[in-house]
């Protein structure tokens, strides 16, 4: 860890005489500036990242510390910026489709779903029912995979190593289904504007059902490792608390918002794809702490399994592509469409000028907006908790930086 002293603190007088406190002459703590104390001379600014294993990518967090207590943070992002929105303006609608997979690469299927649905809305076409069901199955499997990856890495950050091996072992089964369906494991490019490119392979339904029976006991297994584990409880309870009001004001969505007690999920609030056909619950927390967010995501995996089970048993017959022209040329206009990605509200704002290339595509990434809440979540906590909180927000830097 490399750190440097705050400019306001001059320690050049030497260790024996102690730090220079002349700048504090006449300063009364607690009145004008309640955050400051005489201990300010020990205020330290340290750099976490951008190459730090617990930041899940290249995130740099500048921490302002008083001893081990966090006084404030500043996130420095953009290390993975690839200019996805600029690229979109120089590609056709179809050509841009694979790029969206590379934003949240842990949930590529969700990204593709949001993009395809947004363009379909702009074209005023609808995917056929069969395509919608296939989309729901793959998207929910991807939600499980994303939550598994989150759980493994989050637990690893906090010091529990075993869940990582369990979740990666089980996530492999989902990736195998993706690979069999479309040939790719992570950046799937599974959907096309108007429906799906591929029909399900022979044995797809069997594979999905097998996965469900395989995975149901595995979630319980994860829970035996963590839910009542004393170390886990100590490290997550009342850590990184965010109130519902703060979460809404900061635009936080997804499991982080729900763990604060807001029962809001776009799949229910503004159903898209075929979600209105299925029964599922929206799990919510009460305290808005790291432990509640853990419980919410665990329950979400179970609910996703419920959705997949209902969908796979009722896939309708029929075409998988809607009536979209070969050359996609939406009429002049603009649209905003958003979906409930594993991390929160993923939105696409697309402006069309009537040509084959989008005039502007704006991606509203859930990770980017949620990361902004890091600062108020970690204030007053210890440095070690920062790692826990970064993990619990569940960010993917590919999506933060785009």
């Amino acid at each position: 860890m490399s750190g440097y002293k705050d400019d306001s603190t001059n320690v050049s007088n030497g260790a024996l005489s102690g730090p220079d406190r002349s700048h504090l002459d006449g300063f009364t703590p607690g009145l004008e500036n309640p955050d400051k104390t005489y201990l300010d001379s020990n205020e330290l600014i340290i750099n976490m990242g951008p190459q730090h294993p617990a930041t899940h990518g290249v995130l740099r967090v500048i921490l302002k510390l008083d001893g081990e207590k966090v006084l404030g943070t500043e996130c420095v992002i953009g290390y993975l910026h690839r200019g996805v929105e600029k690229i979109a303006e120089n590609r056709t609608y179809t050509m841009f489709n694979p790029y969206v997979d590379r934003m949240d690469y842990c949930a590529a299927v969700s990204n593709g779903l949001g993009y395809c649905e947004a363009v379909e809305k702009l074209l005023n076409v609808e995917a056929p029912a069969r395509a919608k069901y296939i989309r729901v199955i793959l998207t929910e499997l991807n939600r499980i995979a994303s939550h598994q990856l989150w759980l493994g890495t989050h637990a690893l950050d906090i010091g529990a190593m075993t869940p990582l091996f369990y979740t990666f072992r089980d996530r492999e089964e989902i990736l195998k289904i993706f690979e069999k369906y479309c040939g790719a494991r992570l950046t799937t490019h599974a959907f096309r504007i108007g429906g799906c490119q591929y029909e399900t392979y022979a044995g797809f339904e069997k594979d999905v059902k097998n996965f469900l029976t395989f995975f149901a006991p595995k979630i319980d297994e994860y829970e035996t490792l963590l839910t009542t584990n004393r170390i886990w409880l100590e490290r997550t309870r009342n850590v990184g608390v965010i109130s519902a009001a703060d979460a809404i004001a900061l635009g936080v969505t997804g499991p982080v918002l729900r763990a604060s007690g807001v029962k809001w999920d776009l799949r229910k609030a503004q159903p898209y794809a075929a979600y209105s056909d299925f029964d599922f619950e929206i799990p919510i927390g009460t305290n808005g702490d790291t432990y509640d967010r853990y419980l919410v995501r665990m329950e979400e995996m179970r609910q996703s399994m419920r959705i997949v089970e209902q969908a796979v048993n009722a896939i309708p017959e029929g075409p998988i592509m809607g009536k979209v022209p070969k050359v996609i040329k939406p009429p002049v206009g603009e649209i905003y469409h958003s979906i409930e990605a594993p991390k929160g509200e993923l939105g696409y704002f697309i402006v069309s000028d009537g040509s084959t290339q989008p005039y502007r595509i704006r991606v509203r990434p859930p990770s980017f907006v949620n990361l902004q809440a890091l600062d108020i979540m970690v204030r007053g906590l210890l440095v070690a908790d920062v790692v826990a909180v970064i993990g619990t927000i569940d960010i993917v830097l590919g999506e933060v930086d785009r």
Binding site: I77, G78, H81, G83, E85, K86, I87, E89, N90, K121, L122, N124, I248, A249, L250, G251, V252, V262, W264, A269, Q270, P330, P331, V332, G333, E334, I335, Y336, S338, E345, G347, F349, V351, G354, Y359, R360, R362, R364, F368, V369, Q372, D401, R402
Partner: protein, 223 residues
């Protein structure tokens, strides 16, 4: 003026098209002499509608109690439209912090989903700034749009929705739009010393701040 020019031009072709259809009702109901006159009249207003058929859906006026209220309050500064089922308000720049605040306080748009901009270099006011809002109690979305000129600034919404902080920084980073009253307006995705605003239309996709790349990365080019 534009309408006057348009209406006479499309009239001749539809007349020839409409002739067979106009004859059919006349042949179907020849018994009553009063009726053929009526369809003939009905064809006339239909003429401008047929050639005006757009290639896609067009924005329609959006009417709701919310719109009525603010139109009464602000008059001509607000244009309320709906396109493909999505409502938006195109408003004058002068209404900006007030209207956003009222939407939050009076209409419960408590969640600012996104703030972004679109560059139209050929327009006099080059930029559209767009706020996408959502209301949890109403389960409703609305977009607010305004136009500003290059170099003009716009009031920040950070005091209304704290989430606007990073969103406005990104708009500043990519378009160079200044937000007045923003607590810490600086680049967010690009490095601080970068020159140029990449999402402007005149910024080529291969363009880069070569000087920055050479000084800071020690390589000839980032491409």
């Amino acid at each position: 003026m534009a309408e006057e020019v348009k209406t006479p031009a499309p009239q001749p072709p539809p007349e020839s098209e409409k002739k067979p259809t106009a004859e059919k009702p006349a042949a179907a109901a020849p018994a009553e002499p009063g009726k053929p006159a009526a369809p003939a009249k009905a064809v006339v207003p239909a003429k401008p509608a047929a050639p005006a058929k757009p290639t896609g859906p067009v924005p329609l006026p959006w009417t709701s109690p919310l719109v009525e209220k603010y139109k009464n309050q602000y008059g001509s500064g607000i244009d309320a439209l709906t396109y493909l089922g999505q409502n938006y308000l195109a408003v004058d720049r002068s209404l900006i912090p007030d209207l956003l605040r009222l939407l939050r306080d009076e209409e419960q748009f408590d969640y600012c989903v996104d703030i972004t901009a679109v560059h139209y270099p050929k327009r006099e006011k080059q930029f559209d700034v767009v706020w996408i809002l959502y209301s949890f109690p109403r389960n409703e979305r609305v977009r607010v749009k305004t136009q500003i000129a290059d170099g003009a600034s716009i009031p920040s919404a950070v005091s209304i929705w704290p989430t606007a902080n990073w969103l406005e920084r990104e708009v500043y980073d990519m378009f160079g739009i200044q937000f007045d009253g923003h607590p810490d307006l600086k680049r967010i995705l690009l490095p601080d010393g970068w020159k140029g605003y990449p999402l402007r239309k005149d910024y080529d996709i291969l363009q880069q701040d070569k000087e920055w790349v050479q000084i800071n990365l020690g390589i000839e080019s980032g491409q």
